[in-house]
């Protein structure tokens, strides 16, 4: 696979700018509920975008916007959904934790541990129909202690399904550090309990991760069975917007943000390699921000859903 470095960089900055646009909706009460952003984890989004085809399925979590963008969900409709507008991907019914895009085989859930089972269903359907697609089920580190991790990996392994379990290990489940609730030092080593080989990769190294993830997906796509890949990273903001985040040391946060920012890391690498310069990269940043701000302005003038439609879509019309 030939990676285009500036493209990788641009994708990450667009994802971050997207999330930053979302942040603006919280203090204004345009977005309700617990908004979870992926700031600091963007390299994972890039890896998804590179390895997957439109037909592959992704089932994501409460922290899902960047996965959606990676899967090709239209940013405008996604942002409008997050801002609870009638023009949103789901007409404002779903909201930021529950975007569904059947055309791109993308969905998410706000319930921890609930993504892998659904991904398993996609994987089963692909195998039943003999299609060369994979289904990616995403879990946080916290989600891997949920029973569905065990149940789904076992089924995927025993039936040899094209399931890729992608673990985003950002080291915390809300306030709880992984070491306090997980009995192994990596999560990927648990793959052995299903006869699988798991792999842990540095999730803030966008090139390394993109290559590793692509190789993993390729193996599964070619009939090599399910895979488990863990990407280490760090959550830059509170668990949700409004989280007091008092459970993490300030000094820890400062240090980790400096060490584990996939964007600034990559910026330094590109400059060192001479593949970009500070100005050019800053221009990319600015462009991404401008794009997302323009989109935000548009979305802000979109209508809220009409209250008279509150009872629409509970049941679908029966095809007779």
């Amino acid at each position: 696979m030939k990676l285009n470095p500036l493209n990788l960089y641009r994708m990450m900055t667009r994802m971050r700018a997207f999330e930053e646009a979302c942040l603006e909706g919280v203090p204004t009460f345009e977005i309700h509920g617990e908004l979870h952003t992926s700031i600091g984890q963007e390299a994972i989004g890039v890896a998804l975008a590179h390895a997957l085809t439109p037909e592959d399925a992704v089932v994501s979590t409460h922290r899902n916007h960047y996965h959606a963008l990676a899967k090709g969900v239209p940013p405008r409709a996604l942002l409008a959904e997050i801002f609870e507008r009638e023009t949103g991907l789901c007409r404002g019914r779903g909201g930021h934790m529950h975007p569904f895009d059947p055309d791109r085989h993308f969905s998410a859930t706000g319930i921890v541990g609930a993504s892998l089972p659904v991904a398993l269903g996609y994987a089963y359907a692909f195998k039943l129909r003999g299609l060369p697609h994979v289904a990616v089920g995403i879990c946080g580190d916290g989600a891997t202690n949920h029973g569905t991790f065990h149940e789904c990996l076992n089924m995927a392994a025993v039936w040899d399904l094209p399931l890729v379990c992608l673990i985003e290990n950002n080291q915390y489940a809300i306030s709880v550090p992984i070491g306090e609730v997980t009995a192994t030092s990596t999560i990927s080593e648990r793959a052995a309990a299903y006869g699988l080989a798991g792999e842990t990769v540095v999730g803030t190294d966008v090139e390394g991760l993109t290559e590793a993830f692509a190789a993993t997906v390729r193996k599964t796509r070619k009939g090599g069975g399910p895979s488990v890949i863990e990407a280490t990273c760090y959550r830059f903001r509170g668990h949700y917007e409004g989280d007091h985040d008092g459970y993490r040391d300030r000094s820890e946060k400062k240090r980790k943000r400096a060490e584990m920012d996939p964007i600034s890391r990559y910026r330094d690498i590109l400059i060192a390699r001479g593949e970009g310069d500070a100005e050019g990269l800053a221009a990319i940043d600015a462009e991404a921000r401008a794009e997302m701000q323009a989109m935000l302005a548009e979305v802000r003038s979109d209508p809220q859903p009409d209250p008279s439609g509150a009872l629409d879509h509970i049941f679908l019309e029966e095809a007779r």
């Binding site: 399925a57 089932v59 949103g88 991907l89 789901c90 007409r91 404002g92 019914r93 779903g94 529950h98 569904f100 895009d101 059947p102 085989h105 969905s107 859930t109 706000g110 319930i111 609930a114 892998l116 089972p117 659904v118 991904a119 398993l120 269903g121 996609y122 994987a123 089963y124 359907a125 692909f126 195998k127 039943l128 289904a135 029973g147 569905t148 149940e151 789904c152 076992n154 089924m155 025993v158 629409d312 879509h313 509970i314 049941f315 679908l316 019309e317 029966e318 095809a319």
Partner: protein, 339 residues
């Protein structure tokens, strides 16, 4: 759907289900069945008999005991364009997989703004036949309280077949609750609807069935309650008490119209419900009737359901709390005497 000219036979409830599954799977290759022991063994009640041999393991899948995940797998299958039928062996186990049932299956059509259909059936067995607190129960009201699912419970053998076909063909998620007693009952012992057409047919979901006309009192029930009530009604008929029996067939949608029309004539309503009494079917029916006919429309209201107690193991205790022919008869006589 027309079933005139079709040859009719008497079969039993579990055969009716197996036959319907077979015909729907033949008809539509997107239909996939999964659950514990649905494959090689043909189901603990025989409702999936022969399907494994006919369709093979990819379409008739024996799963590990992992209900949460294989229910969620059904959700993913439906999103990928299949039409899964997921068996949860006993309805009592809903507690291990309710999350995927009510947060995913039932809500995704709405959460997606109507973009994602969810043609999925949860097939499960309920009812009280002496199996104690963790393997009895009906729980239809538990599902019905949570929006987004149709909740079906067949009574006649014929409906076992026709409603299962309707559930599979529906674009919406359906909870299909079989009653163990009806699955095990012999065809010849059914008081109603044991004649079943050979070919595939659909019984629409949402239309109640007046299984016995009557003028004195309206008895509303479903599932095995229908057979129990027919027995009781035959007894009291000898003493001139003429009971109309309505088989709801589904509790979501609830056919209030049929019930209200009957009650408007009789003025007396008895709900017989094998599920728990409180916060359930019986009160909902009473209030929906009153909302339609006015607060003073009923001369008598009676609820006969399991009085909010876990199902005891001993049959002597179970019989004291679960509605059956004798207790229904007693209730009918009391109501007749009181008016």
């Amino acid at each position: 759907m027309a079933d005139v000219n079709q040859s009719m036979r008497r079969i039993n409830g579990s055969q009716a289900i197996a036959e319907s599954l077979m015909q729907e799977m033949e008809r539509d290759e997107r239909v996939v069945l999964l659950g514990e022991d649905v494959g090689r063994s043909g189901g603990v009640f025989g409702t999936t008999r022969d399907l494994f041999d006919r369709f093979g393991p990819m379409r008739v899948r024996d799963t590990p005991i992992a209900e949460m995940s294989f229910t969620g797998m059904g959700v993913g299958m439906a999103m990928a364009g299949l039409r899964p039928v997921v068996e949860i062996m006993f309805v009592d186990f809903l507690g291990v997989c309710l999350e995927q049932i009510y947060n995913a299956m039932a809500k995704i059509p709405y959460m997606s703004g109507g973009r994602v259909p969810m043609p999925m059936v949860i097939k499960t067995a309920g009812g009280n036949i002496g199996s104690a607190a963790q393997h009895s129960q009906c729980l239809w009201a538990t599902f019905a309280h949570l929006p987004g699912m149709h909740v079906v419970a067949p009574a006649t053998v014929r409906d076992h077949k026709g409603l299962m076909a309707a559930a599979i063909r529906s674009e919406n998620p359906v909870i299909f609750i079989e009653h163990k007693e009806l699955l095990l009952k012999k065809s010849k012992d059914f008081l109603s609807g044991a004649e079943v057409p050979e070919g595939a047919f659909v019984t629409p979901i949402g239309k109640a069935n007046i299984v016995r006309g009557g003028s004195d009192l309206t008895l509303v029930t479903l599932s095995a309650g229908v057979e129990y009530s027919l027995e009781a009604a035959a007894e009291v008929a000898r003493d001139g008490i003429d009971v109309e029996i309505i088989d709801l067939r589904s509790i979501v949608p609830l056919d209030v119209e049929t019930v209200a029309n009957s009650v408007a004539r009789t003025g007396r309503l008895l709900v017989v419900d094998e599920d728990y009494l409180s916060f359930g079917l019986s009160a909902e029916i009473v209030v929906r009737v009153l909302e339609r006919l006015g607060p003073g429309a009923l001369r008598q209201i009676q609820r006969h359901a399991v009085p909010d107690v876990p199902i005891p193991a001993a049959l002597s205790l179970e019989q004291a709390i679960v509605p059956g022919p004798a207790s229904i008869e007693r209730t009918l006589r009391e109501m007749a005497a009181a008016s």
